[in-house]
């Protein structure tokens, strides 16, 4: 097995371990946010980073051309953003909800496999930057989707008077609603930057990848507007953040097969 596959497999197992550890702690009611809970996620992140480094060496560019590579890159970005925003929003349980998504994405990537791909001409740094920023934006949307799930779970527990283990661990719904709004905003700013770079490349809507990126941008611009103007309830906007992520996810297939 090549080194990159070993690294990714180890990273996936680390995230799966984080899921199992968290579920056991939550089930027994002894969940407490601390460094111990973060260890498997941190180990997974280190292994992801090592994978991306060696994969980059292998293909001679930023590894973002195949679906498997993109899934790993988004998974890496999701964890990076989790470390950046999780503590800021006091969303200690976000890691628990993040780990399953990353485990699934990386499992798909492992099943797909990693093929070598040829470098087409000289590498354009702006193109690489555009792609990287766009994928980090998608990671912010993924995190907004996960936070949306947390909101919907907590909202349901409150509405149905199910005051139990998970209820005490989840943050207040108002805080979750604000986190969704900020994550969608962050993703939108990053995607705008990525699309702005595409103008510098003189190809703003030159191919299906960019067209789809613009559609994703428009969707999240609408969601962001609805949240900003409080046009609809936080529950509905949480649903939008969850369901809305389907579009960027579909676009990954289009991007990789265009």
């Amino acid at each position: 097995m090549p080194l990159t596959s070993i690294l990714l497999l180890a990273a996936t197992l680390a995230f799966a371990a984080a899921v199992v550890q968290a579920l056991r702690a939550l089930k027994s009611g002894r969940w407490k946010q601390g460094n111990v809970q973060l260890l498997p996620v941190a180990a997974g992140f280190a292994l992801q980073t090592a994978f991306l480094y060696y994969r980059g060496q292998e293909v001679g560019q930023c590894p973002m051309k195949s679906l498997a590579d993109i899934l790993v890159f988004i998974g890496w970005s999701v964890v990076l953003l989790y470390f950046l925003v999780g503590s800021g929003f006091r969303l200690s349980l976000l890691g628990v909800f993040t780990a399953p998504l990353v485990t699934i994405m990386q499992s798909i990537a492992l099943v797909q496999g990693f093929q070598p791909y040829a470098v087409k001409g000289k590498i354009n740094a702006l193109v690489e930057l555009h792609a990287a920023v766009a994928l980090i934006a998608y990671a912010a949307f993924a995190l907004a989707c996960i936070t949306g799930v947390m909101y919907l779970v907590q909202e349901r527990l409150l509405k149905l008077h199910r005051i139990g283990g998970l209820f005490y661990q989840l943050p207040p719904i108002q805080g979750l609603a604000k986190a969704i709004q900020r994550l969608v905003g962050l993703g939108l700013v990053l995607l705008s930057a990525a699309l702005g770079i595409s103008f510098a490349l003189h190809t703003p809507v030159s191919n299906p990848k960019l067209v789809f990126s613009w559609i994703v941008w428009a969707l999240y611009a609408v969601i962001s507007f609805l949240m900003w103007r409080h046009v609809t309830s936080p529950r509905r906007t949480a649903w939008l953040a969850v369901v809305g992520f389907v579009l960027p996810f579909i676009s990954l297939w289009i991007v990789t097969h265009a």
């Binding site: 009611g29 002894r30 907590q154 409150l158 509405k159 008077h161 005051i163 139990g164 209820f167 005490y168 989840l170 207040p172 719904i173 108002q174 805080g175 409080h230 609809t232 309830s233 936080p234 529950r235 509905r236």
Partner: protein
């Protein structure tokens, strides 16, 4: 807290605990036997100076008065009598009151087990409550600062704090809420950031006052009190450093608050879906927690169906508090096991 090792070690004696609590003694007697904070330093010194005694700690809270000491008397009952006589003298009890005073008298392992249970919140009125841990720490610190502890009590209390922490960390004895007031706080905390939380009392009953006080003590931002009797509203608002509102005005302020606690004696619904729908539009869907303590209910149950509104009536609150109590009682076996393990580990009982 100073290192007990630095303290002058006076004695290694037999451990004794004499005391009374809410289980043995009614409040009207307990309040007469409580040591005011300022008196405790002298009390610990006086006990230590009793013939045959070497160390002392006095724990005096609203629910218990306990004297922990070490002695070198040949018989345990002598130490019990000496501490009992001290209480009678200190509080200048009449013979009939002294006769009626029911004390528990515990020696060695029994005294250690009792302290471990007390520190862990297992002997508290509200099972698993945490305040007692701080109260025991403060009592020990007072004695330590006044030089009335030595090898026996220093070791015992340090062990007790270790056991208390272990019980809290390794079990779920603290989990859940066991009273209507604490359930209200838990719910408010899961809807809003409490520091930003504005509360409105509609009706000024005793239970709503308790809930509001719980919320304020945990950091709620402000309170509005509205009552049919405006004077009563003003009185309660002043007590809680809030704002009073005439009863015909509260509807107009609904959108300004995040938690409504309703407890009027109205025979019909006071808060109706159409009012709350309008309120939610004004609040721009900011979530609203409504706690209906009144019987008959003040709030139409249909309100709970409105987006962003979370309605809890007295039965719902009571059911959550009962669940919390049951959950804690289930944890009791586990807590007692930890205490027995620790008693064996520290050599109080055979392993």
């Amino acid at each position: 807290m100073p290192d007990p090792a630095d303290n002058n070690i006076r004695a290694t004696g037999t451990l004794v605990c004499v005391g009374l609590n809410y289980k043995t003694t009614p409040v009207e007697v307990r309040e007469r036997l409580a040591f005011p904070e300022a008196v405790v330093p002298q009390a610990v010194k006086n006990i230590r100076e009793l013939p045959g005694f070497g160390e002392s700690v006095v724990l005096s809270t609203c629910n218990r008065v306990e004297l922990y000491a070490s002695h070198e008397l040949p018989e345990a009952p002598q130490s019990h009598d000496a501490l009992r006589d001290y209480l009678v003298r200190h509080f200048q009890l009449q013979p009939e009151h002294a006769e009626a005073m029911v004390l528990y008298q515990l020696d060695a392992a029994e005294a250690a087990r009792h302290l471990f249970r007390v520190v862990s919140g297992l002997d508290s009125m509200v099972l698993g409550e945490t305040e007692i841990f701080g109260q025991v720490k403060a009592a020990y610190k007072t004695a330590l600062d006044h030089g009335t502890t030595g090898k026996t009590l220093n070791k015992l209390f340090q062990q007790a704090f270790t056991v208390g922490k272990r019980v809290r960390n390794d079990t779920m004895i603290q989990r859940g809420s066991t009273s209507v007031g604490s359930v209200a706080v838990d719910l408010a905390e899961k809807v809003h950031d409490l520091k930003e939380c504005r509360v409105m009392l509609v009706g000024a009953g005793e239970m709503s006052r308790t809930c509001a006080q719980s919320l304020l003590s945990r950091g709620a931002k402000s309170i509005i009190v509205s009552n049919r009797s405006y004077d009563k509203a003003v009185e309660l608002a002043e007590e809680m450093k809030g704002r009073a509102m005439k009863f015909d005005e509260w509807e107009h302020a609904l959108h300004e608050v995040d938690v409504i606690i309703s407890s009027t004696s109205a025979p019909h619904f006071v808060i109706k879906p159409e009012q709350i729908e309008q309120t939610m539009r004004k609040r721009r869907w900011d979530p609203l927690l409504i706690i209906d303590i009144a019987v008959p209910r003040d709030v139409d149950p249909a309100v709970n169906a409105i987006e962003g509104v979370y309605l809890y009536d007295i039965d719902a609150l009571q059911a959550i508090a009962d669940d919390g109590r049951r959950e804690r009682e289930r944890q009791l076996v586990l807590c007692e096991r930890i205490i027995e393990e620790q008693l064996a580990k520290f050599g109080f009982v055979g392993a």
